[in-house]
Symmetry: C2
Subunit: 305 residues, 2 copies
């Protein structure tokens, strides 16, 4: 899957991923209205609204991008119905040829991580049969529990030819509270990065490893260091756009060939129609506004590389 991801990045010339994190407040009124007329102001209605919203954005952007990253929390907040929309979104994106990075940030003790890994990237055994649950292509993983909480995910990736992005340095303002603390003179995120590098080297695709890392666009200096610490790990870079990261800051997340990183934008793309720059599209044409925002993001990042 890592080779497929790299192939699609080369083919599109777009090392970007669209974050499908549909807050209801991003969904244009007419889409909400239609969904609520059909299912009422209910979790089913909300799920229908975010699904139709996602579909329109995917339909307008899938040919420009290699991958999407649905944030499961935005679906999980609506309970079972929301999670059905998450699954529907995954399946639809895969049908459209997109690679799906499930932003699930799971991580637990070994046996529990094994269950998460089976449910998101692998298969479960039920009697004599096996089933895939959510079936994302990649998943994000939280490393706080150490190796035995990560290893079951790695095992499933090996088996299923899928991949991980492990949280190293997150994009949020307080990420430094624990992640930046110095241990033997090195910040914790660097130690986690060293572990990711080690896991990565043992689980290689043809040029990059299928064990990647998450490093926030909001911390470009750290991205530069971590690029060197994890030479074989693909870096998933959230925090571009709405969270403050800019294309010119991102150069050092990439290798000299302009590969090795993939930059996520969520709100900046999916709620583009609300921004001054794309207001001309109007909320009826929110999908076209998202397409224009994707084109601008690709140009911004290409210019930086």
């Amino acid at each position: 899957m890592i080779d497929r991801l790299l192939g699609k990045i080369r083919q599109t010339g777009a090392p970007i991923v669209v974050g499908l994190d549909p807050m209801l407040s991003y969904v244009p009124e007419q889409v909400q209205k239609e969904a609520f007329e059909k299912y009422g102001e209910t979790p089913e209605g909300a799920a229908e609204a975010i699904w139709q919203f996602n579909k329109e954005i995917v339909d307008h952007t899938f040919d420009l991008i290699p991958a999407v990253k649905p944030q499961i929390a935005m679906y999980e907040q609506f309970g079972i119905e929301g999670l059905k929309a998450y699954k529907k979104t995954i399946d639809y994106c895969k049908e459209k040829g997109l690679i799906v990075i499930g932003d699930i940030k799971r991580g637990d003790i070994g046996s529990t991580s094994a269950a998460y890994a089976a449910g998101h990237l692998g298969k479960v055994q039920i009697g004599s049969r096996t089933y895939a649950g959510f079936d994302e292509d990649f998943a994000t993983v939280n490393p706080y529990l150490g190796s035995d909480g990560v290893k079951p995910f790695i095992d499933v990736c090996k088996e299923e030819k899928k991949g991980l992005f492990i949280l190293v340095k997150t994009s949020n303002p307080s990420s430094g509270e624990f992640q930046d603390r110095l241990i033997d003179g090195k910040p914790l995120y660097e130690l986690v990065g060293e572990k990711v590098a080690q896991w990565g080297e043992e689980h290689m695709g043809s040029t990059y490893s299928y064990i990647g890392a998450v490093v926030g666009a909001t911390y470009p200096e750290m991205g530069k260091v971590l690029r060197d610490v994890m030479p074989k790990s693909m870096i998933l870079v959230p925090g571009y756009g709405a969270q403050g990261g800019k294309g010119k800051d991102l150069k050092h997340f990439f290798d000299k060939d302009g590969l090795g990183a993939i930059v996520n934008s969520s709100r900046g793309i999916i709620a583009a129609y609300k921004q001054e720059a794309y207001k001309k599209f109007g909320q009826e044409h929110f999908g076209e506004a998202s397409r224009a925002a994707v084109e601008d993001m690709i140009a911004d990042i290409r210019e930086a590389l």
Copy 2:
């Protein structure tokens, strides 16, 4: 909810929680068979099997215990159908008067944590109406992202009178890999514990805070230190029984009145019928085996206090 939890611990005299982590391999053959006959060897069949399994265990133990802790991964592995069984289990346990600790270990950047908090402990707004999603009473939270990843959970708990258990020192063998690393002479888990203490003191029930901590039974010496670091935080203690923790090791997780901690056992209770000590019940009477295991666990912990 923290006061209700303490009240129920006093009333039952049992500072324990039963971990409803139903691996299919724990579910007795006859329960699996019946579920598969009804729904086939499908996710629906697996969900039915684990739901019937849970129900039997809850029916045989609810009068002895204050709380249950379903591990969402064990349900999530079966996709949507599994999560329906998770929700059904939560609702049933609440009907039976039990407090439900959702072992979800979520944690993300602020806006995403807010969505998880709404979906698990609070309510979501859909048009003019509000809905509760999974509606657990407590949830476990991963602190790797720092304060702004935790605060949205705290805000919802304040609003809804619910509570948290934040991962401080986890029970798994490799938890020390990052958690034990020294920062200014103190292990990371202690720094996280200090943060939990601080959040806790700002969010008090009548004697304990509704912001608690997770500290593994497998690390009793660290439990002793952390009890002092977080004097107002309830400690949820996993790792008893199957993971190796014993009653006599747990004394120092409690305060001088024998309160302040709640010990979880999952496999040791729910798969008791498979153990030598409870084999006499036979797999048809697995609920009674679980009841006997609960009684033994309570006695073991009372003796230690």
